[in-house]
């Protein structure tokens, strides 16, 4: 029988091979996040904020459901949706307007007025600058009060673009690519998930802050510097152990880990926002956090010291 070389057999990883990349489940990703935020909000000291981010997530899901952008210029390199190279389709600006309109009735009145006022005056060029400011974490180009909204819209755009990818086509980081940056879009992770069930039981995946892809990284390794021997875990004594701070005595940074075995609904964005006291305590113990949460932007973030 002749072999049809024009139609190669798709390579499916074997059951013993660790899946490197998990692409976002675009049908329900933000919906699940909203549900998790709402359940965490019950009785929480920051219930109002968690509830508001849940509204943003619902608006994101709605926007994502009807968004099917084509691959723009600058895609298809070793990091296919590299946010430092890709030419964003201005369609993301519509998504921003859509999300802001959807959450305005639920936002604190002053904030709603401020953000809509800013949006009305902004030119498309301004919006592009906000996006750049958000992606670089630079409050000079994007007010930190606006960053969460801009991030929400950019997340929807990049997540929609991942529909063009096949998880099996990316089996490892490209040569020279940092293990702590997303192999799909080059953004940093919020933190990691130790997953439960099926082929990813007990494995750790870093979760992207931009495109929502997850990529495998061996457990008990510092996300920032790769050290293993000096890694340990901080948690709240007697508290819920779903979330831990994976801390490194070599580089003095930490990154949050959410255990889905303890709670299958755990979500990096939601569970991170619900456990900020852990960050404050670990910060007081002398550790700096690696990995941003777009819904918690600070004025004082800075680049690596070396």
């Amino acid at each position: 029988m002749a072999i049809d070389r024009s139609n190669p057999i798709p390579i499916i990883p074997s059951a013993t091979e660790i899946p490197f990349l998990l692409l976002p489940e675009t049908e329900n990703l933000f919906f699940d996040r909203a549900a998790r935020l709402k359940s965490l909000a019950t009785g929480h000291a920051m219930a109002d904020y968690l509830g508001f981010v849940a509204e943003i997530a619902l608006a994101q899901q709605q926007a994502l459901n009807s968004l099917h952008p084509s691959l723009p210029e600058g895609t298809g390199g070793p990091v296919p949706l590299d946010h430092t190279r890709l030419h964003r389709d201005p369609v993301w600006q519509q998504v921003l307007r859509q999300i802001i309109a959807a959450v305005t009735p639920k936002a604190p009145p002053d904030y709603a007025r401020w953000m809509n006022g800013l949006l009305e005056k902004a030119t498309p060029g301004d919006l592009e600058q906000w996006a750049q400011g958000m992606l670089e974490g630079d409050p000079q180009h994007c007010d930190i009060g606006m960053m969460p909204m801009v991030a929400a819209a950019l997340q929807v755009y990049w997540t929609a673009l991942t529909r063009h990818l096949e998880a099996n086509s990316i089996r490892h980081h490209p040569d020279g690519h940092a293990a702590q940056q997303c192999p799909v879009c080059n953004a940093p992770p919020v933190g990691s998930l130790v997953r439960s069930g099926a082929t990813t039981q007990g494995l750790r995946y870093l979760a992207c802050s931009l495109c929502n892809a997850q990529w495998h990284m061996e457990r008990i390794h510092c996300v920032n510097c790769g050290e293993s021997a000096k890694v340990f875990y901080y948690g709240i004594e007697g508290g819920d152990d779903t979330v831990q701070a994976e801390s490194c005595d070599a580089c003095h940074t930490y990154s949050k880990v959410m255990h889905m075995e303890k709670n299958p609904a755990a979500d990096v964005i939601a569970d991170d926002l619900a456990t900020l006291p852990l960050d404050v305590l670990v910060g007081e113990a002398g550790f700096e956090r690696y990995g941003p949460n777009p819904f918690l932007m600070t004025e004082t973030g800075h680049a690596a010291r070396d």
């Binding site: 960053m147 956090r289 690696y290 941003p292």
Partner: protein, 195 residues
């Protein structure tokens, strides 16, 4: 790759109070007040290899205790290492029971000696034990070593002693075991490669 400034940050009461959360009109005050009621607990996860058989499944051992503060560390849980290329997180019932093995009251942590004819075990030092083993090995080897066979060919065999090596040895430990044991002329060398 560009490391941008938002990738590293320290969260304190002050930074939280001026963060996007506060700017958006939500007051993290109550959450901050809560922080004072909490205390950090420190745990460690350590990789190891199951000591039972030659499959050498990967383990993660969980322990509590802050080594830096001189507190007593204790292993509280052991499970399979999902990243391990051979076992991918699985353990057999023996491996899954390793915590009992670690904490077993009857676990032997020092060498003991029962003299021929005696029914009593005596605690001895590691030095005494290795020296005695070496002495007995030499005695037996001097007595039974076969340098040449019936045809006069050099064989250098020591047939009266066998050697059972460990299961979870590394490649390097296996290499050294082989070198030492074969150099003595021992033919009956085996690894505990099955349970």
């Amino acid at each position: 790759m560009k490391i941008t400034r938002r990738q590293f940050f320290k969260l304190s009461a002050a930074t939280l109070g001026s963060s996007s959360i506060a700017v958006m009109g939500f007051m993290p005050g109550e959450a901050l007040a809560e922080v004072r009621q909490f205390k950090l607990a420190r745990t460690t996860e350590t990789r190891n290899t199951c000591p039972y058989c030659s499959v050498a499944c990967g383990l993660i051992m969980y322990s509590i205790g802050d080594k830096a503060k001189n507190a007593k560390s204790e292993i509280i849980h052991i499970e399979g290492d999902p990243d391990h290329p051979v076992s991918r997180g699985s353990l057999c019932p023996k491996g899954a029971g390793l915590l009992e093995f670690v904490h077993s009251k009857s676990r032997i942590t020092f060498p003991e000696y029962r003299a021929p004819g005696s029914n009593e075990w005596k605690r001895v030092s590691w030095e005494w034990a290795t020296e005695r083993i070496a002495k007995l090995m030499k005695e037996d080897r001097d007595q039974h070593f076969i340098a040449k066979n019936d045809k006069g060919q050099t064989v250098n065999r020591w047939n009266t002693v066998g050697f059972l090596a460990a299961s979870a040895s590394s490649n390097e430990a296996g290499y050294l075991t082989h070198k030492v044991v074969r150099s003595l002329g021992i033919v009956a060398l085996d690894n505990q490669a099955r349970v």
